[in-house]
Structures are given as C-alpha cells and as structure tokens.
C-alpha cells in the first residue's frame, strides 16, 4: 500500500467514522436518559436516506403513512386525557398529533416535493423522520419505561425488526443512492477531496457542536443531563422522565435521519442497511461504555478507519473485523470491573 492509497482510505474512514460518531452520540444519549439500548437507531438512517430518494423519484415515501398512523394512534390513546386537561396543554397536544402531521401530509401530497431543490427535499425528509422518534417512544417505550435494561433491549430489538420490515414495504428491496450535495472536488497534494466528504464532516461537526451547546448552556439540556445522572432527583425537580425520553428520542431520530441524508450520496442504501450502520455506531458507543460522549465519538471514528482499511486488505471479512473489535474492548472493560453487579 502506498501513501496515496492510505490517504484515500483514511479519508473514507474519517467520513464514515464521522457518521458513526453521530450515531454513537445519539445512542449514548438515549441510553443515558432512558436506559434503552436503542437498536433501531439505524432504521432512522435508512428511513432518512430512502425518504429523500423517494422524493427524487417522485414517489410518496411510506414514512408519511407511518407518521400519520402513529399520530392517529397517539390521538386515540392520549386524546381523552388531553381533552380533560384542556388549556394550553391540549392545544399543544393537537398541534403535535393533528396539525404537524396534516402539514406534512399537505407538503408531501400537494407540495410536489419532486420539483424542490435538494436542500428543501432533505429538510422535508428530516421533518418526516424526526417526529417518529418521540412517537415511537410514546407508544413503544413509555409503557414499559420502568422495566429492566434487558427488557427494554428486547423491546428495542422487536421494534428494530418491525421497522426493517416496514422499510421493505415502504421502499421496496431496491437500493437507492441520492445525488451529492456538492459536485466540487479539490486536489490536496495527491489526494482528491470531494465536496460531499466535506459536507459530511462539516454537518457532523456542526451537529456535535449544537448538541454540546444544548446540553451545556440551556436549561432543557441540563434537565436532560440531570435525568441521565439521577432520575429520582430530576423527577423531584419536576423534570418528567417521559418528557426527557421524548426529547432524547427526538434527537435520535434527527441525528439518524440526518446521517442517512448525508451518506445517501456516498453509499447505496437499502431498506436494511441502516442496521449495520447503526451497529457500527454501537461499537463506538460500547467503546465509550455507553456513558462517555467523547470516548464514544473517538471509538466510532476508529471503527470508520478500521472498516475502511480492512475493506482494502480483506474486504470479504470487513464486517467480521469491525464487529470483532468490540471483543478486546469488552475484555478491557471486564478487567476494569471487579464487583458483582446487581441488576435493577
């Protein structure tokens, strides 16, 4: 391998690593706040990418139907209580389960997104995927919010399966690739840097900074961190666990959808691709022990690089190598923990 190839592989690795890092952050966030090991994270990636692809092909993405169906179920389940409560709360509830879905339906069905510019299509795709996070939290995880981590994990896996199957129904078995945000490319020495790579890196960095500012500087961000640190303490301050859970899932969906939109021009996305992408974010998150954001991001970057270089040397065993990476990581974690842990 000469330097040029190495640089090329490193570039690829850093770009996919940036995506994995975003996903790893979302996973750590969701786990810290809700204790859910969020296996379906990758489905948001696929949904984001394929929703955008549907717009470009002039199709109506199934994501819209899912959004409407979930909103309808929530209206049935929570409507009566919200009605009784009345006031501002009820209006807010209606805005979430009636107004927003109606707006989305109007935009997709009447707005002819096929003709929109790429950035507007991307935003619409993101707007369709984002509410799935809190909706799924409400219907799938909130009823068992106090269950054990293990139980929540099994629920997450079940949801993953259902969402992959729905993805097949919505988008078909065909893969899709979307046009890049930028066709530009630059030569830096012997290396060609594509505009899309810079888009991915820039957007990832931007999202990470935005997340950092949210968690460090705003009261709601602090409230989320407080829930992650001490649930009872947070509840006693009036920070509702449900509220925190919905916000965390909203972030997960936004980050997942955005990641999908960003990488769709680089790799072909199938209805079930999201799972493998999400799992690589997971390997990063596990490196960070599902607790540390910076370590998780660094781990995810490492996963990207490892994947990129192993695809050069042993492309058939690429996935095997990436997933075997967690063995030494777990070994190291295992050596660090010596006490008998009590499951809650």
């Amino acid at each position: 391998m000469d330097l040029q190839i190495a640089l090329l592989l490193a570039q690829d690795g850093v770009v996919s690593g940036a995506i994995y890092a975003l996903l790893a952050l979302a996973l750590v966030l969701v786990f810290a706040v809700t204790r859910v090991v969020f296996i379906p994270q990758g489905e948001f990636v696929a949904y984001g990418a394929l929703t955008l692809a549907s717009f470009q092909m002039g199709k109506i993405p199934g994501t819209l139907w899912l959004l409407l169906a979930l909103a309808f179920v929530i209206l049935l389940v929570d409507g009566p209580a919200a009605w009784r409560q009345g006031g501002r709360g009820f209006l807010l509830f209606l805005a979430q389960v009636v107004l927003y879905p109606a707006l989305m339906a109007a935009a997709v069905l009447l707005g002819q997104p096929h003709a929109w510019p790429l950035w507007a299509q991307s935003l619409l795709a993101l707007a369709l995927v984002a509410p799935l996070g809190p909706q799924l939290y409400r219907l799938v995880f909130q009823p068992v919010a106090e269950a054990s981590v293990l139980m929540l994990l099994i629920v997450a896996v079940a949801l993953h399966l259902a969402l992959v199957g729905l993805g097949l129904v919505f988008f078909g078995a065909e893969g899709s690739r979307t046009p890049p945000f930028s066709e530009a490319s630059w030569e830096v020495g012997s290396l060609v840097v594509s505009g899309q790579s810079l888009w991915v890196l820039g957007a990832s960095a931007g999202l990470i900074v935005a997340l950092y500012l949210f968690f460090e500087k705003t009261l709601y961000g602090k409230a989320l961190r407080a829930t992650a640190m001490n649930r009872i303490g947070a509840r006693l301050m009036g920070i509702s666990t449900t509220f925190a859970g919905k916000i965390a899932f909203l972030f997960a969906a936004v980050i997942g959808g955005a990641s999908g939109i960003l990488i769709a021009p680089i790799t072909t996305i199938y209805y079930d691709t999201g799972f493998l992408i999400g799992l690589k974010g997971f390997v990063g998150a596990i490196v960070g022990g599902l607790a540390s954001y910076p370590v998780a991001a660094a781990g995810a970057l490492l996963v990207g690089l490892l994947e990129s270089f192993s695809s050069f040397w042993a492309s058939a065993y690429k996935e095997v190598l990436v997933f075997t990476l967690i063995i030494p990581v777990l070994l190291w974690r295992s050596w660090q923990s010596h006490q008998v842990e009590e499951e809650e």
Partner: protein, 598 residues
C-alpha cells in the same frame, strides 16, 4: 380432565408421525428443533436474567461442524471413525463450548446489556464467516451431508427423525426442569436480582452465569447437529442474526419463566411464520420477509401486556405442579443431618477489624474503625443513621473492598477476599434491606444459605442423581426455618411475607450456612414487640451455642439487654466502646444520640 391432558399430549406426540401428513411431520420437526434452542433461552433470559440474540450462530456452529467433518473430512480420506455424524456432534459441541466459554468469560462480568450486545456482534460476524469461508462452501453452503445411522440403520425418513428430535427435546426439558429444582438451580435462579446476596451465601455467580450460558449454547448446538442431518445440507441463512432474534421471541412469547414456554413459543412462532410467509407476500404484492413486522409488533404487545408470555395462560389447563422442594423436604426423617463445622471455643477471637478506612469519592464512610468479636459473644454496633455501620458490614463481609486497613477472621486476613470466599470460611450475614428472592418459597430461600454444604453439580442435578443430597439440604433449611419460627410458611413465596418475617427468613438463611460468626444488619426493624422478644431469645441460644454475633440495631432496649459489648459509631468513627452500662453513660454517646437544639 386436567390430569389426562399431559398424557393425552404425549400420546398425540408419539402417534404423530403415524397419522400426520408429511407436511405436518416436517412442521413438528422444526418446532422441536426450535424449542431446543428456545429452551436454552428460557434458562438464560427467563431464569438467569441474561439474554442472547446470537443463539442461531451456535446452531450454525453445531450444524457446520458436523456437515464439514462428514463431507470434507470424508472426501479427504480421514479415518472413517473421525467422519461419522457422532464425531461431528462431538466437534460441534466442543467448538460451541469453546466459543461460548470465551465469549462468556469476556462479557458475563459486565452488566446485563453487554452480553446481548456482544451476541449481536458475534451473530453477525459468524454469519459473515460462514458465508465467506471457502472450505465451508461460501454462500452456497455444504451439501451431501450423510444421514444419521444407528448400527447400520439409516435415519433418512423425516418420520423417524421426528422421534429423535422429540426424544432429544423431552430429555432436555426433563434435565432443565430437574436442574432448576436443585442446589445449582437455586443458584441460577438467584442470578436474576439476587446476585449480590447469592455471593454472600457462597455462590460463585460468575461461574453460574457461565454454566447457564454454556448450557444454552450446547442446546443450540445440538439443535444444529440434528438440523444438519435432517436437511442433509447447510447454508448460512438459517444461522443469521434475524433467526437468532426469532429464537429469543419464541422464548419470550411462549413464556420465559417456565421450561414449557419454550415449547409453546416455538410452536406459535413456527406455525405463525409459515402461515405469514404464505399470506403476506400476496398482501403486499411482493416477496420478502414481511413476517418480521408482525413478529416485531406482536413481541412489543406481549412485552407490554403479558410479560410472562403465553404459558401462564395455557398452564391453567394443566395440573398445577407441586411446589418446588415440597416433596424432597418431607423425606427428612430418614436422612442423617448435615455435618456441622467445628465451632471455636467460647472467647476465641473470631473477627478482628483494624484501622479500616472506606471512602466513597470525597465521603469517608469508615474512618479507621476497630472492632473485635469473640466466639460466644454478642457485639452490637450502634450509632445514628448514616454513621457508616452498614458500610462497615459490607467491608467485613467482602461485599465492598476496604480502602485501607485490615480485617482478620479466625486469624486469616480476609480483606480483599470476595464475599463467597469469606462465606466459605464460616461468616454469614443478613442485609438491612431484605434481599430475598420474592418468587421463590421461604424454604428455597433458606436452602440457598446451605449452598456451600452441598457438593453435587449440574450434571447430577439434571439426571436426578443428587436427590439424596437435595433432600438433606432442604431438611437442613427446614430445621432453620422452624428454629426462627417460620414453620407455618415454608412453601409460601418469600415476597408475600410481611417485612418483619422476611427478616427472619434472612436470619434462617444465614444460619443455614452453618456459620461461626453471624452478622445481623438491623434484624429487629419492623418486628413487633413479641417478635423482638422471640428474636432476642433465639440470639441468646445461638450465643450459648458458641456463635459469635455482630449486630447493627437501632432499638436501644433490644441492644442494651442483649449485647455483651457495644461499639458506638458516628461519622464513620468509633466514639465509644465498652460494656452496655459503660457506653450508656458516656457523654459522647449522649451527645451523639440526644444532641438536640440546646
């Protein structure tokens, strides 16, 4: 009607291949194969509180091992003995155990979700390996696997294979049920929510977890072996992660807390899958594994509405099983009692705590604590809430390591030893926040205390060879229950008792360990006056028998009338120590307890 149902089902199973069409025989074969795997997951998930999504990979190891050995090995002209299906079974089991032991050693010590996560990674990796390794035939797989043969008779007909599968399954069900109703079984059942307590009773929980994980893997591997010789060819698809997840669904939907749940779940999912695969592609007008949508939502619904799965609903039609341990504990009269450990003479120094410091971050919970307990003596540790008494208990019993200092028990240094090693030396404890297994009976909870007094392991438990020892253990447990006044509720779930009586179960369990030193953390809290009197009387008897007792208690009356020696703690330090009468008049003690607003 209820009594005849199991017999009827057995008769139906036995007659199955003779009356059913080929299609149904095949369906039953698949149900049996899946149920074997799901049974392992019932052990893992429902009983031990662990989970694996990667069981399909173990099935694959079992299937590929035998397929490779019987085809490639035979083609390479290896000795015939090494290329029989039986050698394939041995190879498969060996590989499975090797892999499971390796994975288990890495992940089982970490908290619960790391194991399932690593099984996902492992499930995917192995699937890709099967598909990419040349010698395993890549994605096309291996064909031409020979049929099983018994003394020259070849088992080619699925109708005959049916018997092999279902006999294997029934044997496995029998073995697992026996295991759960035994000494190692109680240790396994304590893993879910009682690991810390079990360690304090001398159970090596890491080993118990590993054994369960191995057992589940072995069952999966066995299923894979049967599969390979039934199908006569293997390819990677049935060993992928989605199938691994399906196995887990079987266990959970069927009911992961009872062995029969595996059978119910395997039947429901297998039939449902078959039916949906016919029907859904028509509905959606395309081919694909749409059944996973239904499985996913079904699973979520089950976990929301009926966490015990389907079995608890179905089991109402069956005769109620006898309470675990009930029959065995009645055999006690004919059996000799368990041998007792030699007790040191009264006055011998049992426990010597020297300069123990325990810090949590910036807080010093124990600051150079000193303490001694002698045989035939009751030492009480008192002090306001938050003074660090329970922390000191945890340090002494090995639940938490000391930051510095020395703890000696019977002259041997024990600081740094794990709780189970200290228990083995003859120290037993109770917990301030009662740690019982609420679903298990009082008798079984107490029998867990006698864990170290039995020797029989997993295999003899599964084969029912340990029934004698089991009866003696339960008789011993029963004796201690009676001693603390629990004779009337031996077979009630421990969780249904009022708090005060649960504390007595804790004491009985500690006594069942046959200790020379007993640590009691607030044994009288929540007891009524007469119960306290009875407890005090019991502790006096134990003291007279030569036991050393270290006691944390808030009820001053109780302590002052009972203890030989009192140590008073405040802010992690000893502020006074001496005979009860001396301590009561110590100004520092009066200030600590009664320091009001004056």
């Amino acid at each position: 009607m209820r009594r005849w149902l199991p017999a009827g089902l057995l008769a139906f199973l036995a007659a199955g291949p003779l009356v059913l069409s080929e299609f149904y025989v095949t369906l039953f074969n698949y149900i049996g194969l899946s149920a074997l795997v799901a049974l392992g997951l019932v052990l893992l998930t429902g009983v031990a509180g662990l989970t694996s999504f990667g069981q399909a990979a173990f099935v694959g190891v079992g299937a590929y091992a035998t397929a490779w050995l019987t085809t490639a090995g035979a083609a390479a002209g290896w000795p015939a003995l090494l290329t029989t299906p039986w050698a394939g079974l041995a190879l498969g089991l060996m590989l499975t155990m090797l892999v499971a032991a390796g994975l288990g050693a890495i992940t089982l010590r970490l908290s619960g979700h790391f194991l399932p996560l690593s099984t996902i990674a492992w499930g995917i990796s192995l699937y890709f390996l099967f598909g990419n390794l040349e010698f395993l035939g890549g994605h096309t797989g291996l064909s031409g696997v020979p049929p099983l043969s018994f003394a020259g008779w070849e088992l080619r007909d699925p109708r005959w294979f049916y018997y092999l599968i279902w006999l294997s399954l029934l044997a496995a069900l029998f073995g697992v049920r026996n295991l759960l109703d035994s000494r190692p079984g109680r240790a396994i059942r304590a893993l879910k929510g009682g690991a810390l307590m079990a360690e304090a009773m001398g159970v090596d929980t890491a080993r118990a977890k590993l054994m369960v994980f191995l057992l589940a893997a072995i069952l999966a591997s066995l299923s894979g072996w049967l599969y390979a010789h039934l199908q006569r060819f293997v390819n990677p698809t049935p060993f992928g992660l989605p199938i691994g997840i399906e196995y887990l669904f079987m266990a959970v939907i069927g009911g992961a807390s009872e062995v029969w749940g595996a059978l119910v779940g395997a039947a429901v999912i297998t039939v449902l899958k078959h039916w949906l695969q016919d029907w859904l592609p028509h509905l959606f007008g395309a081919s694909g594994n749409f059944e996973i949508i239904v499985f996913g939502f079904l699973m979520i619904a089950v976990l929301h509405r009926a966490q015990g799965g389907l079995w608890p609903y179905l089991s109402r039609g069956f005769p109620q099983p006898a309470v675990r341990g009930e029959a065995a504990s009645r055999r006690d009269a004919s059996l000799p009692p368990m041998p007792q450990r030699a007790r040191p003479e009264a006055g011998v120094l049992l426990l010597d705590v020297k300069d123990v410091v325990k810090r949590f971050g910036g807080l010093v919970a124990n600051d150079r604590m000193n303490l001694a307990v002698h045989a035939g003596e009751i030492t009480a540790l008192i002090g306001p809430n938050g003074a660090g008494k329970s922390t000191l208990f945890n340090v002494i019993s090995g639940v938490e390591p000391a930051t510095s200092g020395e703890v000696r028990f019977l002259g041997q240094r024990i600081d740094g030893l794990p709780a189970r090693a200290i228990a083995r030396l003859g120290m037993a404890r109770t917990f301030q926040h009662v740690r019982l297994l609420p679903q298990m009976t009082v008798l079984e909870n107490v029998a867990l205390g006698a864990h170290l007094r039995g020797k029989r392991g997993y295999l003899s438990a599964m084969l029912r060879l340990s029934r004698d020892e089991e009866a003696r253990l339960l008789a011993e447990a029963r004796r201690h229950c009676e001693r603390v006044g629990l004779a009337d509720c031996l077979h009630m779930p421990a969780g249904s008792l009022p708090l005060g009586r649960q504390r007595l179960v804790e004491i009985a369990r500690a006594l069942a360990l046959d200790p020379v030193l007993l640590l009691l953390d607030e044994p009288a809290a929540g007891l009524r006056y007469l119960e306290k009197q009875a407890l005090a009387a019991l502790l006096r008897v134990l003291r007279a028998e030569g036991l050393g007792i270290l006691l944390v208690e808030h009820d001053m009356d109780f302590v002052m009338n009972l203890a030989d020696f009192v140590v008073v703690m405040e802010f992690g330090k000893t502020i006074a120590a001496g005979r009860p009468a001396e301590v009561q008049n110590d100004p520092a003690v009066i200030e600590a307890y009664l320091g009001g607003l004056e």
